[in-house]
Structures are given as structure tokens and as C-alpha cells.
């Protein structure tokens, strides 16, 4: 970089001209601040990176050049010189957004990870939370489905509670936020901090126990206005990987025939010839007791059977058959439900201002069509953020955002498509095979009493595909979020801040079921409307004191915070609609349903907080915080709790004795311990509750729930021990942290015998532990002027353990663990929370029957039984993965950039419900469902080595719950791949652009799991039946980013 300095001797004062460029790409730096040191004489660089400074007094020898993200340079004024301005490499000097303020990363004693805007807006995400996937050590995320507008749920450092909520607290620009993830436009977000340990979260007292996620929106800086335009388009497709199930109708009939044949042969003891006839005649019959599929979609000569004695489809059979005046031929239901859908997003923001006042304004528009019929999401967001230095001692500002969204949810079409065998028509066809039409277009097969040739045994009376096209499940919502602050500085070291934040979120949900087909036909259409509104008000009064005495730096803070949250809901339903398509309001329907309600719930908290920070010479750091908090969810006598944390950090590399180790740039040790509370439970669990009901038009108060006055906070004690390091001139940096989260006074249901007339109440009766290690590394193998390659890696290993349970809960002792059975789990002392407790599958017997293990009471031996009710339950592993995290890499060269994100999870068990369903043999109540190809490998007299039971109709036991369906939940997924190009400044200069980047990307590229089709990423309890849910989405996108 060159700085040409001309000195005019004719005058006492001099003028300096220069250009500022970046070392990395030799491009001019626009907007860098250039200041004559010790004066207020300064300017900023123009679009060519050039500047002119006049009126420099000869007494001034130095100018200071600074730019965000670059190392500030001090340059002595001389005729010819060369300065190198480089990006900040010392990440330790990064400023982190933490509880009630910011902290230099080096001075921070807690555990937190900050994600910057580039990582957030890189992917076509609708909400900020999705962008955290795989980026933060210790953070687990699950997404249950791909419905547009859906939000994932997250867990930070393990499961901390059995009954109380485990969601982290969200803080938006310093204020606790209840406005909903989707109502923050990711394009407005500057950074997201994930606070994980007590030192970082204790100041949030009551609500910090599950970790805190702090979102900071973008701010304007003094200087010329910058206009940024962002546009993204993506094509969304079905990202779900299918199980390997039978899709061919002929093969399906063969499989069904086989099940019936075996049934008649083995269970009904018919001869093979009789069984052949019975199976053939009954399989296409309408009697579900004898296995009738109702539909026969093949034509073949009279007197012949659909399936031959060889078990194969009659070679004379042709697809298509006329029955009851309809032509039957199967349709692909899945194809009919899913399609490729377009997502488009546009954002524009303008930021700029003077030294005293800055303004940031943005507008965003998002429109996402769902991949499943009938679903979509659209959103408009706007934000205005200003600050004004009104007086030298007073600064104030406001941050207001508004979001309007409309969401249409798909109904059950996709789950029917997932289940329905490949023999069933979706449409009604006339005898010539044409799809019949009625006033609503294509006619769909419901069943006889509605319209249709036959009664389908699966999903009778329904056709979810048609219904999802017609029925309305619409949510329109408005969110207004407003924060304001005022800072007053006084007595030099003091600053008083008053923050006020409010959110008003309202949502109107409308469900209208059509009067033509399906459920609401007999009701002549039904409509229900639900409106809810949540208003919150948060007030904070904070006093800060900062002072330095030589090398001692002290910072103190005291504050008060109160939070009110009011939720109101109104709901009503009516039947008998006048005009389904044009009037989906209650007043457009005639008959009431006695189903109207309104209610309100309030939740308040209040807290006093204090924090002290001290450091000596930027080398030793200490932090102490305390908060006293109250929550309205507890009885007034048990409402207040005390929470604290202490933390310390030591930067070893500032010690002289480490000076010799040149490759080590930074080494820091940190430790923190503290306690927070968790009150995420239902309201009024502390008092006996009665239902208000109507009894023959008189008031009735019926007992509904036993309360317990004594319940109080769950306490979360958090210990964090960590090392942060940076070496080889910033080429490798990272951290290793050990954590121990211990939940005591865990809220849990305390069960009583049902004969008391209620089943229990909540009490603080248990302890739980999460212990683990997190590693977060970033390595830069290449960093030259034109090429930079980064590799990031994070990994977390933790173990969860229930360490204490209430005596009343210890109803069993299994393998030495006292505890109790809860569904498929056993909650025992010394065991992880989601420990499976199920029958152990023992393969098949010599007759091809399923077997399970039981333990002989006398000998203690494990034996096999074919009687399911005799089988014993065993502890069969748990859901917590052994290791999980993410790997990402980014490469930039000559304007091109490439990045990829891979998430992985190793170990843990999850129950494969989808596979279990597909392996179920037909029974009289389970007919016409899809079937997995693995049934070809089932036991048969010719294949006795199989561990899959014989495939036989009405076998109620072959897929009974057992560890047969517990599956290793390990998975690897390629989350995102992206390729971009940023045009050089030189090119752009002519276009009057400051920046232009174009890119293409693919999201949710692929995943691998133990079994094809099994997606273990949908739950962390290992027990979520998401088969037949809205498919995950794979997105191919392209976008551009322009800055003026």
C-alpha cells in the first residue's frame, strides 16, 4: 500500500493524500477511517480507497487508519511509505456479545460461541436457529419435518430436566424475546452468541438454566450510507430418503398373497391347494377378517387367479380393471403429494448516519412454497434501528421490527401417501380410464358412501391428497417488537441504562374443512378460528461503573429486571358453511358446536442482579455475578431463588516465562461455576385445580389436578473448565472445555396410587447430571494473498445420568438401578435419561415364529420364548450419542469462495418406527399398508436362517415392540455446499457498486444412517415416530448480494 504525502512548505499546515488497500487482495478499502492522531481531524476513504487530509499541523507526526475487521495501523507521516493493513487474525480480540453487554473474548471467563452474519445468511434459512446447526459445540438440534415455517428445537449441553422445559432462553438485542424464531429476519442479524456455562448465563437467573442464545441485529455506523441488496432463489425438493419398500403393484399382491397363503396353510391348517384358493379368493375380497384388500387392479381371464401356484403374478394379468363402473388402476400417491417448490427471498437494508445519529433500516420479503400440497409460508419483515447521541452524556435509541407472516400447513396427505400400498387408485376413473371430473376438478377415491367404487381398508373414508388440496389450515400472524434504551453517563465512571422492550405477537389460525368429501362432509363443512395474542413487557434498570486504577480494571453492574407475559386466546367453531371457497369465517356458517373458548394466562418474573468484573493488566480476570429472581409459577412462599456464578481466567501467554515459545500466540485457562434456575413448567402446579364445567346448565367444579405448594426452582449447577489457544500466527486456534451440569431439585411428577382419585402431583424430587467435553478447532492451512482455506471442526461428547430419584418413583430395581418405567424407557438412578427398556428380540423359532428373551427366575439364565407376554424387558442402551458435532470448510481463491458443512452424530439408539410399520404383516385391522422389501428375507421352510419371522396374515406378534427396532442412531449429513464469486473492486468501480457476490448452493444435500430411510436426526429422545411426517427439504439455491 502506498501513501503519497505531499508537503507544502509554503504554508504552515500540510495536506496528505493517500490510498488504503488490503493486503489480502490488494483491493482498495472503502470507508476506512483515517485520523490524525491526537486530533479530531479525520476523514474516511472513498470508493477508490483514497483520502485527502488537509490542515495537518506539522506537530502531528502520525495518522491512525482503522477499519472494522482490520488491524488498526498507526503510520508516521513521511514522504514515501508502505503500510500493511491486514485482517484481524487474533480472534481473541473479538468482541463477544454476552449477558448485559459485550466482552472481549480474551477477557471472557465463560463459555460461549459467537456466529457471525456471513454464516447466518449463507444458507436459505427462514430462521436464525437453523443456521446454528453443526456450528456450535455442545448444541444439538432436531428438525422433525420440512413444513415451511417450522422451527427446529435445540438442546445445549445435554438434557437437563425431565418435566420442565429444556429450550434455551432467547435474548434479542439485550432483551428476553418471546416473539418467535421465525419473526426475526436472518438478514437483519449481525451475530448470534450461544452462552453455555453459568458464568455467561447466571445473570439471566431464572431463565438461563438451559443456556442462552443472544441475537444481535445489525447496526449502522457513522459514514456514508450503505445499501445492501440480497436476493435468493431456491428450488426445494423432497429431501427424505425413502425406505426400500415395495412399489410395484404386482409385487405387492404377491407379498400379500404370501401372507394369506401362510395363514391358511399354518393357522387354518388347510392343504396347500386349499390355501392357494383361499388366499387368492380372499385377498381381493372385501372382508377384512379374511384379509381382503378390497381392490383388485388387475384384469385376467375368468376362472384364473391373480397369483399362480408359484407365488407369482398371473402372466395373463394386466394392470387395470373395471369394478362397479369404475376403472381401477393404482396411482403414485407420494408423487401426487410432493412437488418441487420455489422459494424466493429478497432483502434490502440501508445503514448510515452521522457521528451523532445512526440509522439502520431494512425490508425483507420471503415466499416459500411447500413441497407438499397445500403448504407454504410467506413473510414480510421490516426493521428500523436508530441511536442518537443527544448530549455528550446521553445517548438513546430504539429498535423496532414488524413481521407479518402467512402460513398454510399441509394436512395429512403425506402420511397417507407414506402408508398406502401401491395398489390403490388415488383418482376415480370412468370405465374408459379417464379421470372423472366434478365441480372441484379431478375426482378422488374416498369410499362408497362418499364417492368411490369400494371401501379401502387403509385410511377408509378419506383421501388425504384431495383433502390437503382443498382444506384450509392457515395461520396469519403479526409480530411487533420494540426496544428502546437510554444511556446516561455521569460522574465520569458511571453509566445508567434504562431498557424497555415489548413484543406483541398475534396469530389467527383458521381451519376450514370442505363440505364435499371426507370428515366434514356430513357437517356440511366446518370452520374453526383461533386467535391468540402474546404481549410481553420487559423493563431493565442498570447501573454500570467502570474504573481503572493503574493496571487494575474494575467494572461493576447492578440492575433490576421485571418481565410480564400475557397470553390470550379465543376460539370458536361452526359447521354448515355457506360458501367453502369464498367465505371461511364463522359468520359464514350456521350451526354452533358448543366449542367456543377464551382464556388468558399470565406469567411474571422479577429479578435483582449484580455483576463485578476485575482484571489485572489484561492477564488475570475475575467475574462474580448474582441474581435474585422470582417467578409467578411458584407459590408466593417459594417464589424467590438465588443464583450466582464466579469465574476466572488467566492468559498465560502474557506471562514473561512463556515468551520463548514463539509458536504459541495465546493460551488461556478459564474456570467458572454457578447456579441457575429453571421454571419452565405449567402454571399453577402449586395449587389444587378444579375444572369449570356445565352440568345440565348449572355450574360444576370438578377436581382436575392436585397441586403442591412446596414446588420451587429446579437448580442447575454448572461447572466449566476450559483452555483457549491460538498458535502458529493464528493458523490454528480453538478451545477445549469440560463441563458438568448438575440439575438438583428436579421437578418431576410424584405419583400416587390411582385409587386416590388423582395420579400425582409435581415435586422437586430428583437430580440429574450431564458431563462432557467439547472441542472447537479452526485451522487455516493456506493463507496467502489470493487463497485462504479454513477448516473448522467441533465435537462434543457427554453422558447424561439420573443421579437421584424420589423414593416414590423407585418402584423397580433393574440391573441394580432403582427407578421406574416410563413408556419405552426406564428412568433409573445411575442411568441416562432415555434408556430404552424393552423386550429383547431373540430371532425366530424353528417354526418361524418371533422369539424374545426372558430370564429364568431360578437359574438366572436368559431363555427364549415365543409368547410375547412372557418376555422380560431389558435395558437396551440409550439415545444420547457418543459424539456429535460438525465439520466445515471454506476456501476462497481469486474471488471464488467455496464452503461445505457436514454434521455428524455417532452412537446412541433410536427406535425405527418407520421400519417397524413397514415390516408389519397384514392383519384384519392393518390391511393395505406399504411393506418393506426385507419381508422377502423372512423365515420360510426354505429359508430357515433368517431372523425375520415368517410372513403371515394376522400374526399379531411378529413386529411387537422389542430391541429389534432399536437402531444405531449414528448419522452423517452434508448440510450445505456453496460456491460463490465476488467481483473485484476494480470491476465494480465502474458500476458504482461497492460489492457484488453471486453464489449457488445446495442444502440438506444427503444423509447416511444405519438403515436406508431411517432418519435419526428427528429426535434426541430416540423415540419419535416421524414416519409419514412432512418430508425434510433439499434446497438448490442461487443468490446475489449487491452493495452500493
Amino acid at each position: 500500500m502506498c501513501l503519497f504525502v505531499g508537503i507544502n512548505h509554503a504554508q504552515a499546515q500540510i495536506t496528505v493524500k493517500g490510498t488504503v488497500v488490503s493486503i489480502e487482495n490488494n483491493e482498495p478499502i472503502i470507508g476506512a477511517s483515517v485520523l490524525v492522531k491526537g486530533t479530531t481531524n479525520g476523514t474516511i476513504t472513498d470508493i477508490n480507497g483514497q483520502f485527502t487530509l488537509t490542515n495537518i499541523s506539522p506537530a502531528n507526526k502520525t495518522i491512525v487508519v482503522s477499519f472494522i475487521g482490520m488491524e488498526t495501523q498507526e503510520v508516521t507521516i513521511k514522504p514515501e511509505m508502505r503500510i500493511t493493513m491486514a485482517s484481524t487474525t487474533e480472534v481473541m480480540d473479538e468482541v463477544m456479545v454476552v449477558a448485559f453487554g459485550t466482552a472481549k473474548k480474551s477477557a471472557f471467563t465463560g463459555s460461549a460461541k459467537m456466529i457471525h452474519t456471513e454464516q447466518i445468511t449463507k444458507r436459505p434459512v427462514t430462521n436464525v436457529i437453523e443456521s446454528l446447526s453443526g456450528q456450535v459445540a455442545g448444541l444439538q438440534m432436531t428438525t422433525t419435518n420440512g413444513q415451511p415455517g417450522g422451527t427446529p428445537s435445540i438442546l445445549i449441553r445435554g438434557i437437563s430436566s425431565m418435566s420442565a422445559g429444556t429450550d434455551p432462553l432467547i435474548v434479542l438485542d439485550g432483551m428476553p424475546y418471546e416473539g418467535g424464531w421465525n419473526n426475526i429476519n436472518p438478514a437483519d442479524v449481525e451475530s448470534v452468541s450461544v452462552l453455555k456455562d453459568a458464568a455467561s448465563t447466571a445473570l439471566y437467573g431464572a431463565r438461563g438454566a438451559n443456556g442462552v442464545i443472544i441475537i444481535t441485529t445489525k447496526s449502522a455506523k457513522a459514514g456514508d450510507a450503505k445499501i445492501t441488496i440480497d436476493a435468493k432463489w431456491s428450488a426445494n425438493t423432497r429431501g427424505e430418503i425413502e425406505y426400500d419398500y415395495i412399489k410395484d403393484p404386482g409385487e405387492y399382491y404377491q407379498a400379500h398373497y404370501k401372507a394369506l397363503y401362510n395363514y391358511y396353510l399354518n393357522a387354518q391348517r388347510q392343504t396347500p391347494d386349499q390355501a392357494y384358493v383361499s388366499a387368492n379368493t380372499n385377498m381381493v375380497g372385501t372382508n377384512s377378517q379374511t384379509g381382503g384388500l378390497s381392490y383388485n387392479v388387475y384384469s385376467y381371464p375368468d376362472g384364473e387367479y391373480l397369483i399362480g401356484k408359484d407365488g407369482l403374478l398371473n402372466p395373463n394379468a394386466k394392470l387395470g380393471r373395471v369394478v362397479n363402473g369404475y376403472y381401477l388402476t393404482p396411482d403414485d400417491w407420494v408423487d401426487a403429494v410432493y412437488h418441487t417448490a420455489l422459494r424466493q427471498e429478497y432483502n434490502i437494508n440501508i445503514a448510515g448516519g452521522s457521528d451523532k445519529a445512526q440509522v439502520y433500516a431494512s425490508f425483507g420479503y420471503l415466499d416459500e412454497d411447500g413441497i407438499a400440497q397445500g403448504s407454504d409460508y410467506s413473510r414480510i419483515t421490516g426493521r428500523l434501528k436508530t441511536t442518537y447521541q443527544a448530549k455528550p452524556w446521553m445517548r438513546f435509541g430504539a429498535n423496532i421490527s414488524y413481521t407479518h407472516s402467512i402460513q398454510n400447513s399441509a394436512s395429512g396427505g403425506f402420511s397417507q401417501a407414506f402408508n398406502t400400498a401401491p395398489i390403490y387408485p388415488l383418482y376415480l376413473r370412468d370405465t374408459t380410464g379417464n379421470i372423472m371430473q366434478d365441480k372441484n376438478g379431478d375426482m378422488y377415491d374416498f369410499e362408497v358412501s362418499n364417492q368411490g367404487p369400494l371401501n379401502r381398508p387403509i385410511n377408509p373414508n378419506s383421501n388425504g391428497v384431495k383433502l390437503s388440496r382443498l382444506d384450509t389450515y392457515n395461520t396469519s400472524a403479526n409480530t411487533l417488537n420494540g426496544d428502546a434504551f437510554i444511556d446516561i453517563n455521569f460522574l465520569k465512571d458511571f453509566k445508567f441504562t434504562f431498557n424497555a422492550g415489548t413484543s406483541i405477537r398475534d396469530s389467527r389460525y383458521k381451519k376450514a374443512l370442505n363440505p364435499f368429501y371426507g370428515t366434514a362432509k356430513s357437517l356440511n363443512g366446518s370452520v374453526n378460528v383461533q386467535h391468540w395474542r402474546r404481549t410481553t413487557l420487559n423493563l431493565q434498570q442498570i447501573l454500570n461503573y467502570n474504573h481503572s486504577f493503574g493496571l487494575h480494571n474494575v467494572s461493576l453492574m447492578a440492575g433490576h429486571e421485571s418481565f410480564n407475559n400475557v397470553y390470550e386466546e379465543l376460539y370458536a367453531a361452526k359447521n354448515g358453511m355457506f360458501s367453502f371457497f369464498q367465505n371461511q369465517e364463522l359468520n359464514g356458517a350456521i350451526s354452533g358446536t358448543n366449542d367456543e373458548s377464551s382464556y388468558k394466562s399470565k406469567y411474571n418474573t422479577e429479578g435483582y442482579l449484580f455483576r463485578g468484573m476485575y482484571d489485572y493488566d489484561g492477564k488475570y480476570f475475575f467475574q462474580l455475578s448474582y441474581r435474585r429472581d422470582a417467578s409467578s409459577r411458584f407459590h408466593p412462599d417459594n417464589r424467590w431463588g438465588n443464583f450466582y456464578s464466579v469465574g476466572a481466567a488467566w492468559i498465560l501467554t502474557k506471562e514473561k516465562w512463556l515468551d520463548d515459545i514463539k509458536w504459541l500466540d495465546l493460551l488461556k485457562l478459564k474456570f467458572s461455576v454457578g447456579q441457575q434456575g429453571n421454571d419452565k413448567i405449567s402454571d399453577f402446579l402449586y395449587v389444587d385445580m378444579y375444572n369449570i364445567n356445565n352440568s345440565n346448565n348449572e355450574l360444576s367444579l370438578g377436581f382436575s389436578r392436585k397441586g403442591n405448594k412446596n414446588i420451587t426452582w429446579e437448580t442447575n449447577t454448572n461447572i466449566n473448565l476450559g483452555i483457549e489457544f491460538e498458535m502458529f500466527k493464528g493458523r490454528l486456534n480453538g478451545s477445549i472445555e469440560y463441563f458438568n451440569r448438575r440439575t438438583t431439585d428436579m421437578l418431576n411428577r410424584f405419583s400416587v396410587p390411582l385409587s386416590l382419585g388423582y395420579s400425582g402431583y409435581y415435586d422437586n424430587i430428583g437430580d440429574m447430571n450431564n458431563r462432557g467435553v467439547e472441542v472447537d478447532l479452526k485451522y487455516t492451512p493456506v493463507k496467502t494473498r489470493n487463497v485462504t482455506w479454513n477448516i473448522g471442526f467441533n465435537a462434543t461428547h457427554y453422558r447424561n445420568k439420573i443421579s437421584r430419584l424420589a423414593e416414590s418413583k423407585k418402584t423397580d430395581v433393574i440391573d441394580g438401578h432403582a427407578g421406574y418405567v416410563n413408556g419405552l424407557y426406564y428412568y433409573g438412578e445411575g442411568l441416562p435419561m432415555y434408556t430404552n427398556y424393552v423386550q429383547k428380540y431373540a430371532g425366530v423359532s424353528e417354526e418361524g415364529k418371533p422369539q424374545w428373551y426372558y430370564t429364568d427366575k431360578q437359574t438366572g439364565e436368559m431363555k427364549k420364548t415365543i409368547t410375547y407376554s412372557q418376555a422380560d424387558l431389558y435395558l437396551c442402551g440409550d439415545a444420547v450419542p457418543d459424539l456429535y458435532g460438525g465439520i466445515n470448510t471454506s476456501l476462497s481463491l481469486y474471488g471464488f469462495d467455496f464452503s461445505a458443512q457436514i454434521n455428524y452424530s455417532i452412537g446412541g439408539q433410536a427406535y425405527d418406527y418407520g421400519y417397524q410399520a413397514l415390516m408389519s404383516p397384514p392383519t384384519s385391522t392393518h390391511l393395505g399398508y406399504n411393506v418393506h422389501k426385507d419381508i422377502y428375507k423372512a423365515w420360510s421352510p426354505e429359508n430357515t436362517q433368517s431372523d425375520i419371522p415368517q410372513w403371515q396374515f394376522n400374526d399379531l406378534y411378529s413386529v411387537k415392540t422389542s430391541d429389534r427396532f432399536l437402531t444405531n442412531a449414528s448419522s452423517i449429513s452434508i448440510q450445505n455446499i456453496q460456491l460463490g464469486y465476488t467481483f473485484s473492486k476494480k470491476t465494480l468501480r465502474n458500476l458504482y457498486l461497492a460489492n457484488l457476490r453471486v453464489y449457488v448452493a445446495c442444502d440438506n444435500v444427503y444423509y447416511w444412517s444405519k438403515r436406508k430411510g431411517f432418519d435419526s436426526r428427528v429426535t434426541w429422545s430416540g423415540n419419535g415416530d416421524t414416519s409419514g411426517e412432512y418430508s425434510a427439504v433439499r434446497a438448490f439455491s442461487a443468490g446475489l448480494n449487491i452493495q452500493f
Partner: protein, 564 residues
């Protein structure tokens, strides 16, 4: 502002109150309507919806539980088993640790808890006439529930060796259920043994006698409230139960007398009491058995078994639209084939049918016979023989043996808020006639009993021009079976006969050549014993949290299904 505020500011956080469909006990304590409302909740519990949470589709009130028990007997089937929500004791597969089974236990005890809560509140309230009536009402319901519990859960021999031996080994013969009164503490509840039968018998009789006194002057406003004739009807049931018990287990009489102050002379004395109380109930209530026209719903076929106003009802639940919580999950949706909103209809084929055997036992002279569709008339037009709201086409959809006994309210077949709000009988006077007949026979001799039975049937149930009814029984056992056969016809779908099967330990026969029981339901219990599944399995959670309780053996799959 806040800064150095002392940390003792513990009360500035705003207090919150429930503002939803619930009231806290603190709010109730301040309400004038509290006592009325708590008593109302006891009465309303008959219609309680989802008492267990969301586990059973039968869980829409007392009527749903009756249908579970009805299906344990031999005359109540569902045409399409896929939509049979009362199949637990029909399919006999999972009758042990199963949610459906747990609900049964919980429902009765929740009902008792409601009564006990109201009784506790009444203990603290003023001694007014109204409050005394309230007490009587609560005690009546409590007695009703303990009667149900005792009869469901007391283990009777099944003839299945494995089960009977397990019961023997666990020493549960003669034990009934834990007693919970207003005095029982949570601590006691955690170790609360199954009381011997005589303890609970005494409790029931005490509750009923107290109620009888308290309700002596009570003029009930509607027939959903108990009154003395209801109390007497319950006493008739109870004494009949006791008479049969001492007949089958003569030693129990001594056990009872030496442990209580009831001093019962003999089983005959019990039957005599039963007959006496049945007569009292008949006379005091002024109720008259349904006429043929009333039975079939009047001229328009819209009333009948859906209105508490029917002459024969002594006691019943009243249901209003507010008690209809679901368009399909309710009694009418299950039982009225004419409605379109539920599952027991053309759309879902969940039609409810009577057994072929019982149907065949009815001669044409018994005008009740056309309550069910004869096989020869099925899939044809109804003509004048069948009294139905359905058009010819829809009628013709119904399979043989389908029952059209229950009607949607006001004949409203489509709007469930109207049609499903049907009242449900808890006691009809016909039952009292039949109790009187049986108890008279058992106390005064066969002839006296037969005379009463024939009298009832010929007077009220036969078109005598087509033939007279005569009871051919030549011994008391057969006579009792014949009375029960009449009850099976008369009370089909009303949950009455389960108690008789259990009381008399009658054989259940669903499998026989030509049976119309669906495959999977064709179970025959062992003759001379109680059907294994009628010893209802106590919820496993009771045993888990109440150390005192020993469970009944799990009756699942104890008997193999009959095959042709």
C-alpha cells in the same frame, strides 16, 4: 432507580390467577357457588369425558364404561372390528397392563374422589336442608361406585387353573378394593390393602342407608339426581348381589356376620330384601315400563332410549350439547346406527349387533325383537316392521342383527351437537321388575318367581295375541338364567347384564356354529365358572404406588378362541 434496593422486596411481583377453564382451590374457597358446583361435578361425572387423559375411545362417560363391560358378555358385537372401541373384553388379548384397562379403575376412583371432595366440603359447610340433600346425593354416587368396584375386581374362580392358582397363591379370594373415604390420607393411600368384601358391603349399605334418610324429603328437580327410589333401587341390586353370594359361598355369610354388625339371617333374607327394595323403587318412583310405542321412539321414532323423560326411567344422566365433546366419540356415535357423525353407522360400518343366539331365542310375539334386524330382512327395505328414521337405501346397508334401539336426540341424524346429546339410563323400572321376580323366586320359591316373571313379560313385552310367554324353568338355577335372558334382551347396550354374569358366575358363549361374533371375539368361558376376563385386572399403577394392593391375575389369552 432499583439499584441499592434491599433484597427483601419479595412481594412486588404481580400475583396471577387462573383465567381459563379452571379454578384454583383458593378461588373456590372464596366463591358462594362452591358447594353447589362441587356437588354438580359429582352428578356430572357420569358424563365425564377423557377422564384418563387421551387413552381410550370409550372414555366418554359412564355409558362408555358400560359398553366395555357389555362387550365382555355374549350379545354385543361390532360389525367392523376396526372401529370397535369397546373390544378390550371382546378380543381378550390385552386385558392386563393396558391403558384401556387402567382407565376402568381410574374412572371409578376419580368418581369417588369427586364425591369425597364434595362430602369434605359439606362437612365444613352449614347444616342446611339443602346441604343435607347434597350429602345424600354424594353418598348415593359413592355407593354406586363402590358397588361397581367390588363387583368388577373381586376375583372369582374361572376354571383356568393357572389363574385360579395364582389367585390362591396371592391370597386374594374374598378381597375387593381399597377403601378411600374423606378420611383417607395420601400416606394411607400408599399402603391401602384391598378390603375384604364385608368391609365394603358395610360401607355401601351404610352410605345407602344414610342417603335414604337424608333424601327422605328431597324433591328432585330432574331425574339425573338421586332420590329415595334411586337409593332403594341400588339397595335392591346390592341385596340381590349379597343373596347370590351367600348362595354360592355359604361360608361368607358367617364371615360377614362375625365382622360386621349387619346380622343377616340367611341368603333368603337377602333375596327378600332385594324383592322388597325393588318393589319400593317401583312404587315410589311411579315409573311404568316402556310401552312398545315408547320403546321404539314414539310416533316419529325420535325418543325412546335417549330421553330421561321416558316413563320407565327412574334415574339417568342428562346430557346437553355442552357434554358433547367430540362429534364421533360419544355414546350416540357408537350406538345409534341412524346418525351420520360417529362410527356406528353406514360410513364406518361400526354397527352394533346382538348375538345370533339371543336373537333366535326371541319369538315373534316378543315385540322387542324388531329392535334388531332379522337376517332374512337385512339388506332389504324396512317396511313397517322396522321403526327407523333411515331411508330405504341406508336401512338396506345394515347387516343382520344390527340394533336400532338407541336414537339420536330429536331424531337429528347429522348435527352431532343436537343428535349426540342423548340422555343415558342408569336405572329403569323394568330392572326392578326383573330383580323382584328373581328375588321372589329365590326367597319364596320357584313358582312365585316364575309368576312374577311371566306377569312382567306378558304384561309389558309380548303381543299376547301372537303367543304368551311362559317360563319353562324347573329349577331355580334355570329360572335365574331365564331372568337373565330377559335382562339381556331388555337391557342390550345398557351395561346391566355384566353384573349378573359376574354375580351368578355364568358361562359366556360367543363361539358356536353359525355365531355372528367376529373372528377374534369367539371366546367361550368355562361352564360353572366366572369368565376369566370378568375379573377385571387392577391397574398396574395401583400396585406400583400402593404397596398394599395385590393384583388380580392377568386374564389375557387365558382361553383359546373357539374355531369351527
Amino acid at each position: 432507580m432499583c439499584l441499592a434496593f434491599p433484597l427483601c422486596l419479595n412481594s412486588c411481583i404481580d400475583e396471577v390467577f387462573p383465567e381459563n377453564g379452571q379454578a384454583s382451590i383458593d378461588q373456590i374457597g372464596k366463591s358462594d357457588q362452591a358447594i353447589d358446583a362441587m356437588v354438580n361435578s359429582v352428578v356430572a361425572f357420569v358424563n365425564a369425558y377423557n377422564t384418563y387423559g387421551f387413552q381410550g375411545w370409550h372414555d366418554f362417560g359412564y355409558s362408555g364404561y358400560n359398553l366395555l363391560r357389555e362387550a365382555a358378555c355374549e350379545d354385543f358385537f361390532c360389525h367392523e372390528p376396526k372401529f370397535d372401541f369397546f373390544s378390550t373384553y371382546g378380543t381378550c388379548n390385552e386385558m392386563g397392563d393396558a391403558d384401556n384397562v387402567n382407565t376402568i379403575w381410574y374412572y371409578s376412583y376419580k368418581f369417588i374422589n369427586a364425591a369425597n371432595n364434595a362430602l369434605s366440603a359439606l362437612d365444613k359447610a352449614d347444616d342446611t336442608a339443602e346441604n343435607r340433600f347434597y350429602r345424600g346425593i354424594c353418598l348415593t354416587y359413592r355407593a354406586m361406585n363402590y358397588m361397581d368396584l367390588v363387583r368388577m375386581y373381586e376375583y372369582k374362580k374361572t376354571g383356568v387353573e393357572k389363574l385360579d392358582n395364582e389367585a390362591e397363591g396371592n391370597n386374594i379370594y374374598g378381597l375387593t378394593v381399597p377403601v378411600i373415604t374423606t378420611e383417607t390420607t395420601e400416606e394411607e393411600g400408599r399402603n391401602n390393602q384391598r378390603a375384604p368384601f364385608y368391609i365394603v358391603y358395610q360401607l355401601i349399605l351404610d352410605d345407602l342407608e344414610t342417603a335414604e334418610k337424608l333424601l327422605a324429603d328431597y324433591q328432585r328437580p330432574t331425574k339425573n339426581m338421586p332420590c329415595t327410589s334411586v337409593v332403594h333401587g341400588l339397595m335392591a341390586r346390592m341385596w340381590l348381589e349379597m343373596g347370590s353370594r351367600f348362595e354360592l359361598y355359604p361360608d361368607d355369610l358367617g364371615t360377614l356376620n362375625s365382622n360386621t354388625d349387619l346380622n343377616i339371617a340367611s341368603k333368603e333374607a337377602c333375596f327378600a330384601q332385594a324383592a322388597e327394595y325393588a318393589r319400593k323403587a317401583i312404587d315410589e318412583s311411579g315409573a311404568v315400563p316402556l310401552t312398545e310405542k315408547e320403546w321404539f321412539g314414539g310416533d316419529t321414532y325420535t325418543t325412546g332410549f335417549n330421553s330421561v323423560l321416558a316413563n320407565s326411567w327412574i334415574w339417568g344422566s342428562i346430557m346437553t350439547s355442552e357434554d358433547v365433546y367430540s362429534y364421533w366419540n360419544n355414546f350416540a356415535g357408537s350406538m345409534c346406527p341412524e346418525q351420520t357423525f360417529g362410527y356406528g353407522n353406514r360410513k364406518w360400518q361400526g354397527y352394533k349387533m346382538i348375538s345370533k343366539k339371543l336373537f333366535d331365542s326371541m319369538p315373534d310375539a316378543d315385540w322387542r325383537k324388531t329392535t334388531w334386524i332379522a337376517p332374512e330382512d337385512a339388506h332389504k327395505v324396512p317396511g313397517t316392521k322396522y321403526k327407523t328414521l333411515l331411508n330405504d337405501n341406508d336401512f338396506a346397508d345394515m347387516p343382520p342383527y344390527t340394533g336400532i334401539k338407541f336414537r339420536p336426540k330429536n331424531g337429528e341424524m347429522n348435527d352431532y351437537t343436537v343428535g349426540a346429546a342423548i340422555d343415558y339410563p342408569l336405572m329403569r323400572v323394568e330392572e326392578m321388575y326383573l330383580i323382584e321376580a328373581e328375588a321372589t323366586g329365590m326367597s319364596q320359591g320357584l313358582a312365585a318367581g316364575i309368576s312374577k316373571l311371566e306377569d312382567f313379560v306378558n304384561t309389558y313385552r309380548y303381543e299376547v295375541s301372537l303367543g304368551r310367554y311362559s317360563c319353562e324353568a324347573d329349577n331355580l338355577k334355570d329360572f335365574q338364567k331365564e331372568v337373565i335372558r330377559q335382562k339381556r334382551i331388555e337391557f342390550w347396550g345398557e351395561g346391566v347384564v355384566f353384573w349378573d354374569y359376574k354375580r351368578l358366575e355364568l358361562q359366556v358363549v360367543r363361539g358356536y356354529p353359525g355365531t355372528n361374533a367376529p373372528v377374534g371375539y369367539r371366546f367361550n368361558s368355562i361352564e360353572g365358572y366366572c369368565a376369566p376376563w370378568m375379573n377385571i385386572f387392577i391397574s398396574i399403577y395401583e400396585n406400583v404406588y400402593n404397596k398394599g394392593v395385590v393384583l388380580n391375575p392377568d386374564p389375557s389369552q387365558a382361553i383359546n378362541e373357539w374355531t369351527e
